[in-house]
């Protein structure tokens, strides 16, 4: 099976890095088995003939609107700032982005 060759610990580790999601060793272990089983079970969708389908067409009309600056609740930005996990003065602080 194609999936059995594809899914191993290294795959799951790489995927977790892309997802920015730390997994413990035992989680990598169980997730490898589960992902393999799930994809194996779901691989039947590959047998569905759908080559001619226009999958990117959405029936719902896209509607654009002007963004208006209408702050109706002056306390709201304070409430949002109040939930920053770490802040200094009025600013959000974060760890350094460049290694």
């Amino acid at each position: 099976m194609e999936n059995r060759r594809q899914i191993n610990r290294e795959t799951v580790k790489k995927v977790s890095e892309v997802a920015r999601l730390h997994l413990e060793e035992d989680e990598i272990e169980s997730m490898t088995k589960e992902l393999e089983r799930i994809l194996d079970h779901f691989s039947k969708i590959k047998s569905l003939k759908a080559d001619k389908e226009l999958f990117y067409v959405h029936e719902i009309e896209n509607e654009y609107r002007e963004d208006k600056d209408t702050a109706t609740d002056p306390e709201r930005s304070e409430k949002i700032r109040g939930q920053f996990t770490k802040s200094q003065d009025r600013y959000l602080t974060a760890p350094k982005a460049i290694k």
Binding site: E24, N62, R65, T85
Partner: protein
């Protein structure tokens, strides 16, 4: 509309519900928070309006709201450690609309973390029990909402439905539950799970209340561009389609109850057996697509602007990874990994693109069928609710959603009504939501 018009005293109604909550909720655990003081105060205001004859359509009706829908100044947790302390700074559009018609919001209800689950056992806080049999799960992910309705702790509840999250718990707790057409109800203020599938809808003990609440919350919202002006399209119901695929693997007593219900319709409607062959692919299509959208929706939780804080400060990405790894539960992680995997450059064509194409096949199959028949009906869930601890394998749990995911994939309205065994599900055409309520007994 007997249940609704009889509320002459909002204060009395609120106190009655609070008493039931105090008595039953320590065991059922449907609520994450109960807004006792706010509800009592609001009831007094509404009573004044009732006296002067100026009360809205939902005057005095006590409503519980799933905790992934924003209520201003209340905790919006999604039953996740990530958002345990997060407070909403605004009201969701549905909440605004309920309040405008003088509903009383009694509290926020438990759910699977970020709506990822079919039995509410994936809440990071506690498990909710099924009021009809407390040894069994209430279904999910809107399990708290369905349990609160079933135990009469509220008159109605609001849930969200991405692959059956209103209809599964409605079926399991023996209440009505309705997933509207995609775009019929605003998602503004709903925490995204999978944006092309999510829809907010009502749960209640009777069909009239379910319909009334839908009527209040529906309609265009400039803050959600996927909403449409809700044009009441009402075609006369003449024919009903029964897909043979909807009965495969359904528990015999449930299949019998559903067939008896269909039999009761034979005199009034033309009943036709139809075939929707791609239903057998619906669970993989749904889980792959939902996981791709879910992993993308959950990227915003980085532990900086709100939510759980990271204890690691080496660099930005190290901090993201740590807080996400610590604060997300097992099922949320599983779906993030699956969704990320199938959208990675190396695997995208084989999985994600194929899934989108497969969804189109399923959509056109349903649309074609609905050109021939006015409604499509069948069972809502293939089994009775399982016992706690019974379903541990993810593939087995995902398979239980086979009868509900199609409505989301095709964007159709679907109503669940309880039967003696299991529940009956009625699908209608896009924006013919009102039709599904009109099926006579």
């Amino acid at each position: 509309m007997t249940g609704i018009q009889s509320i002459q005293n909002a204060t009395e109604n609120v106190h009655k519900k609070l008493e039931i909550i105090k008595k039953k909720d320590p065991e059922i655990k449907a609520f994450i928070e109960v807004y006792e003081k706010d509800a009592a105060e609001r009831a007094k205001e509404i009573d004044k309006k009732i006296k002067t004859g100026k009360a809205g359509k939902l005057a005095g009706l006590v409503i519980a709201v799933k905790n992934n829908i924003a209520i201003k100044n209340k905790r919006l947790t999604c039953a996740s450690k990530m958002l345990e302390a997060h407070v909403a700074t605004y009201n969701a559009t549905v909440v605004e609309r309920l309040l405008k018609e003088d509903a009383i919001i009694i509290g926020s209800t438990n759910m699977d973390e970020y709506a990822a689950g079919s039995d509410t056992t994936h809440s990071a806080f506690f498990k909710t029990k099924n009021p009809t049999d407390t040894s069994r799960v209430p279904g999910g992910s809107s399990g708290g909402s369905a349990a609160a309705v079933a135990a009469e702790m509220c008159d109605a509840a609001i849930g969200s439905d991405t692959g059956g999250s209103i209809r599964c718990p409605a079926a399991f707790c023996h209440v009505f539950g309705f997933k509207p057409t995609y775009g019929a109800v605003s998602r503004y203020g709903l925490v995204d799970m999978a944006m092309s599938l999510d829809q907010i809808g009502p749960l209640a003990k009777d069909k009239e209340t379910t319909k009334l609440i839908f009527d209040v919350i529906k309609g265009k919202d400039p803050r959600d561009p996927t909403t449409s002006v809700f044009k009441e399209k009402k075609a006369e119901i003449k024919s009903i389609g029964i897909p043979k695929e909807f009965f495969e693997g359904v528990q015999p007593d449930i299949a019998k109850s559903v067939k008896d219900r269909i039999k009761s319709l034979e005199k009034q409607y033309e009943i036709t057996e139809i075939s929707l062959p791609s239903v057998k692919y619906s669970v993989p299509i749904y889980y792959l697509l939902m996981s791709a959208e879910f992993s993308s929706a959950l990227q915003r939780y980085d532990g900086l602007r709100y939510g759980a804080a990271s204890d690691r400060t080496k660099d930005l990405y190290d901090s993201f990874e740590a807080v996400r790894g610590a604060a997300f539960g097992k099922e949320a992680k599983r779906r993030i990994i699956l969704g990320t995997y199938i959208t990675m450059k190396e695997f995208r064509d084989a999985w994600y693109t194929q899934t989108l194409k497969a969804r189109s096949v399923l959509q056109s199959e349903f649309n074609k069928a609905l050109q021939k028949v006015d409604l499509i009906v069948g069972p809502a869930m293939p089994t009775e609710p399982w016992k706690f601890g019974e379903k541990l394998d993810p593939v087995e749990m995902y398979s239980a959603d086979i009868l509900t995911v199609s409505a989301n994939l095709a964007g159709l309205p679907a109503l669940v009504e309880p039967l003696e065994h299991g529940a009956f599900q009625i699908h209608g055409r896009h924006f013919e939501d009102l039709n599904v309520f009109d099926l006579r007994v």
